[in-house]
C-alpha cells in the first residue's frame, strides 16, 4: 500500500460542530472571514476532489494540478469579493462544482486550440456527473476525517495501529491480535469503534461544508 502515514498527518480539519460554540459557523463562512484553519480544511478536501475529477475526465497530472490551482484562485477571489453565504442546502457545492467543471472544460478547449498531435487521442469532455462528484467528495471527507482522527488524543496509538493493520491493510485478525496483545474480539471492536467515529465525523464535516 502506498500510503505515507506521516505525510497525511499534516492535513488539519476544523473542530466538529457542536463540540465548541465557535465552530457553529460553517467552514465556508469561516473561509469568507479569512480563517486559515478553515482554508486548510477546504483545501484538504476540495483540492483533491478537483484533482481527481480532472484526472478522471482525462487530463494529465500537470493539467489536473493546474485545474486545482485555478479553482482555488477563483474561490479565493469569490470569497474576497464577498461571496454571499446563504444556508440554502447545496448552494455552495453547486457553485464550486460548476467552477471545477468549467475549469476542466477550459483545459480541453485550450488543448483543441493548440497544435494537434495526430497521435494524441481525442480529448474527453468534462463529465456532468453528480454521482462522481459525490463519490469523490465523500471519499475525501472520510480521508480528511481519518487524518484528523490520527491526530486525536482521544484515540490510543495502539488502537490506531490495530485498525490500520487489520481494517486497512487486511492482515489476519489473529496475527494482529497476537502482536498487539489483545483478543480478536477486541480487534473487531476497535474496527467498529473507529469506523463509527469516522462516520460521525464525516457527517459533521458534510454538514459543516454546506
Amino acid at each position: 500500500m502506498k500510503r505515507n502515514r506521516a505525510a497525511t498527518q499534516s492535513a488539519s480539519i476544523a473542530a466538529r460542530p457542536g463540540s465548541d460554540p465557535q465552530t457553529q459557523i460553517s467552514v465556508i463562512e469561516k473561509c469568507r472571514m479569512g480563517d486559515e484553519s478553515a482554508w486548510e480544511t477546504f483545501f484538504s478536501v476540495y483540492g483533491p476532489v478537483a484533482y481527481r475529477l480532472a484526472r478522471r475526465a482525462g487530463l494529465s497530472d500537470f493539467d489536473a494540478q493546474d485545474v486545482v490551482a485555478n479553482v482555488m484562485r477563483k474561490m479565493l477571489n469569490a470569497f474576497r469579493g464577498g461571496f454571499e453565504v446563504d444556508y440554502q442546502r447545496g448552494r455552495f457545492r453547486h457553485y464550486l462544482k460548476r467552477i471545477v467543471r468549467n475549469e476542466i472544460a477550459e483545459h480541453f478547449r485550450a488543448k483543441k486550440l493548440a497544435p494537434v498531435d495526430p497521435q494524441e487521442s481525442a480529448p474527453v469532455e468534462a463529465p456532468d456527473d453528480s454521482a462522481a462528484w459525490r463519490e469523490v467528495e465523500q471519499s475525501e471527507f472520510i480521508r480528511a476525517c481519518f487524518d484528523r482522527l490520527r491526530q486525536s488524543p482521544n484515540v490510543r496509538p495502539r488502537d490506531l495501529l490495530v485498525f490500520e493493520r487489520y481494517a486497512m491493510d487486511q492482515e489476519p485478525v489473529e496475527k494482529v491480535a497476537r502482536e498487539a496483545g489483545i483478543s480478536t474480539s477486541r480487534v473487531y471492536a476497535i474496527k467498529h469503534e473507529i469506523i463509527g467515529e469516522l462516520r460521525r465525523m464525516q457527517a459533521d464535516l458534510d454538514a459543516n461544508l454546506e
Binding site: S10, F43, G47, P48, R52, R73, L76, N77, R80, S185
Partner: protein, 91 residues
C-alpha cells in the same frame, strides 16, 4: 448456513465484510437486534471501502502530490496577488 441463535458480533462483522447477507438472511428476517447490528456493520464496510480506495493512490493522486497540492493552495492564500475574477461571478 442456518443461525438458530444470534451469531456473535464478530461473526456478523465477518459476514458483513464478506458482503454475504444471504448467509444470514433467514435469521435477520426474524431478529431485529441482529438486523440492526448487521446494517451498521454493512455501512461500516462501505466507509472502510471508501477509505481504502482514497488511501491507496486514488485517481493517481499520491501522498506526495497531495502534499504538494496543499502547499500550492496555501501559497495562493499567502500571496495577495489574486485579482478579482469575472469568471467566478454567478451567471
Amino acid at each position: 448456513m442456518v443461525f438458530r441463535r444470534c451469531p456473535s458480533p464478530e461473526k456478523l462483522q465477518a459476514i458483513a465484510a464478506a458482503r454475504d447477507a444471504a448467509a444470514i438472511a433467514q435469521h435477520l428476517a426474524k431478529c431485529e437486534r441482529c438486523r440492526s447490528a448487521f446494517e451498521a456493520y454493512c455501512a461500516n464496510e462501505e466507509t472502510l471501502g471508501a477509505l481504502r480506495t482514497v488511501s491507496n493512490d486514488a485517481d493517481g493522486l499520491t501522498e506526495r502530490q497531495r502534499a504538494l497540492l496543499l502547499q500550492r493552495c496555501r501559497e495562493l492564500v499567502d500571496s495577495n496577488s489574486a485579482a478579482p475574477d469575472a469568471a467566478t461571478r454567478e451567471e
